[in-house]
Symmetry: C2
Subunit: 424 residues, 2 copies
């Protein structure tokens, strides 16, 4: 495995070795937000490469505060840049950057000094429900195990449009939402802060290459349209969701915040983590057929840190292999109606739950609808989130003992507003 | 009522008198798309006013191909521009434009020569379900009259996130979508063109002034954030909707196209059309209380023209007074969770149906779930739309015998694609 000359990139516990090269948008003092690539402990400033003639050719818009322009350039462009940056950062590769000390000082920025922004302008956010265990668990809690899965679930990826305007980058605090809920035994709703605030551990796919209005995609074509992947925490207010959710689906219960990791790990980087489709109990319609393994083997974890401690307790351990529908299947189904797909569309997998309790990807499942306390390994317990709690998602694939990591996706819960409107 | 010196503006059948002044984005040969105001048969090019010093002060971005920048400037700016343009176009007002023949020729463009674009960059599209008759009718068709309304319906505006990327301007053809449907009596879905393609006659509200993440709004504050209104046709594939819609709500069945009128009629123009709230059978929670009449009295019609004729048959006649929740109530509820609202968010009212069959705002209701044929006044009948059908929405308020009109919102149905993917 090729090593990099950049500090930290070859450490076994590093998320960002030479074979990863995820994209993000960063800001350091004196430079407006712009696109960069994580390598070891550093960020490679792509605008500096362009300015200094080390990255030539098309204008990929790396000086913009979002990857959308570059993503729309398509797979050939993505490959060209990846190959060039790999060469510049590899031991034994081109010396143009490595041996230019002044440029290195300018173009390599310590991650510790950078503020990360949303990596993409999120054009549309669609959240699916593509993991069978989660669909079965949440259906069982709401409707009992015999009615857990609606009949459509086994035939297509069920999804809904989420709220794009409140997708936020890791580190953004999450204010507990106000909403209508129906107290147990009551026929009349009340207004107040959600009392059942939850996480959802998800895997987010990002559309790079857009489609035209009316254009459809095969699964194989959809694969080529995908640029990369992020960690995604779809914060959810279960009590608001329960009251509002019928007949049109979740709305304000999931509109207050959705956190994503600042680094977009590309499809190319995850190539060695590809994984075959799960056994399915239903034959899918031909438009959802897969001609290749389009799943990934990515370990996902969530840790919770209460406000009064700095010790993080692991609360979820799961894996993307528990999904039933792959990212290109989600995209092919999304485009089936002729729905225009945009560079910067974010497709959430839905909560990813494995077979055991500690593999369940949200607190509602782990506490089985709020029935059971979830013990935290460093003391205390939870059914749902409390004010001051921080939740951190991490994720990685393993390739020859090296992590292809996603960094962190975290958020801390702030108390709900005291009042409605300007006074609040 | 003040008259205008512009051709056609004072005709009784004109949608765009001096008291209207709706905003749109137009293109004529030789000029890039830009913002304008409809007056009579003409469009006032606001960039020409700015360039020639007739509209001074802040930069409202009228040379851009969307109103978002101007809308974000807020109610004071909207009032300033409206007052100035009224003065320039009124009989007896400022002569600066009227008596400058060369500038008139440059700044007043015949609507007949202009191509209209989407008036706004649609940031988010949220569709509600705010009319009781429609909610009751469609619930009755699906679940029977005793279960027609879910218990939450009377306590809050039920809505879902729609697909913003496929909101299109009037005149854009609408391709019949492919999708999964479940044939009657079958347990296995099939793929094919929707056979139950429908319209939904709606009233769209456009958010002008944005909110911050975590900010909530009272209904009175929400009113101030609303810039204007459009006609909206939420094309729907009922057979796809029926199969996909549970448990997460409509998705691909409404993702292929949503048409809006090119002209945004401002809140100021509709001031004389304000209407009190309907009697409700349920006391709303205080955050939804209204301190003023926030409804409008706007007549809405839909006409259908089959491919083999040019005679349009009126199929729907309804009115926005049939809504149960007002636009500022929709917005206040939308922001309740702290959801960030954006300049350019579009809020659909949901289908507006009145008490009689011909007042029902979609074909599913008029044909009662496809049971009855709907006779067309100029011959033929429909249960749902056929390829080649054109549907046109119109709408207007009446003030002292003068129309405050919305122009037209139309679309023609194209056949479904023959194949999936590039080959299709």
């Amino acid at each position: 495995m090729t090593q990099s000359w950049v500090t930290g990139a070859n450490r076994a516990d590093c998320d960002f070795p030479l074979s990863n090269l995820p994209y993000g948008v960063f800001e350091v003092s004196g430079r407006p937000p712009r696109c960069g690539i994580a390598i070891g402990d550093m960020i490679l400033d792509l605008t500096e490469l362009v300015t200094n003639g080390l990255l030539t050719g098309d204008d990929y818009g790396f000086d913009r505060p979002a990857l959308n322009h570059f993503m729309a350039a398509g797979p050939k462009a993505w490959e060209t840049v990846r190959n060039r940056v790999t060469d510049l950062l590899a031991d034994g590769g081109s010396a143009e950057l490595r041996e230019n000390v002044a440029l290195c000082r300018q173009a390599l920025v310590p991650q510790a000094t950078a503020q990360m922004h949303l990596p993409i302008e999120v054009k549309g956010y669609t959240d699916f429900y593509a993991g069978r265990q989660h669909a079965f668990n949440s259906g069982s809690i709401l409707r009992g195990p015999e009615n857990a899965l609606t009949p459509n679930w086994s035939h297509m990826p069920i999804g809904y449009n989420g709220r794009a305007s409140t997708v936020v980058v890791s580190g953004t605090p999450v204010r507990r939402p106000l909403g209508q809920t129906l107290p147990g035994g009551s026929a009349t709703p009340v207004l107040g802060p959600s009392r059942r605030l939850d996480i959802e551990v998800e895997f987010g796919a990002i559309v790079g290459l857009p489609t035209e209005l009316g254009q459809t995609l095969t699964v194989d074509e959809a694969w080529e349209h995908l640029f990369g992947f992020v960690l995604l925490n779809d914060w959810s207010a279960r009590d608001i969701q329960r009251w509002e959710g019928q007949p049109l689906g979740p709305f304000q219960s999931k509109a207050f915040a959705t956190s994503i990791s600042p680094w977009v790990v590309t499809r190319a980087a995850l190539e060695p983590c590809r994984h075959p489709a799960p056994l399915r109990d239903t034959e899918l319609l031909p438009y959802l057929h897969e001609n290749a393994p389009y799943f990934f083997d990515i370990t996902l974890e969530a840790h919770l840190t209460p406000a009064d401690t700095d010790r993080a307790s692991r609360i979820v351990q799961t894996n993307t292999t528990h999904l039933t529908y792959s990212a290109p299947q989600l995209l092919a189904h999304h485009a089936l109606s002729g729905c225009r797909m945009q560079s910067g569309d974010l497709l959430g997998s839905g909560t990813i739950s494995g077979p055991e309790r500690h593999n369940f990807g949200c607190l509602m499942e782990q506490s089985w609808g709020g029935r059971d306390e979830i013990a935290l390994e460093h003391g205390g317990s939870r059914k749902f989130l409390e004010d001051g709690d921080s939740v951190t998602l991490t994720g990685w694939g393993m390739v020859n003992g090296q992590r292809i990591g996603f960094g962190r996706c975290e958020g801390q819960i702030l108390p709900a507003p005291q009042q409605i409107g300007k006074a609040g």
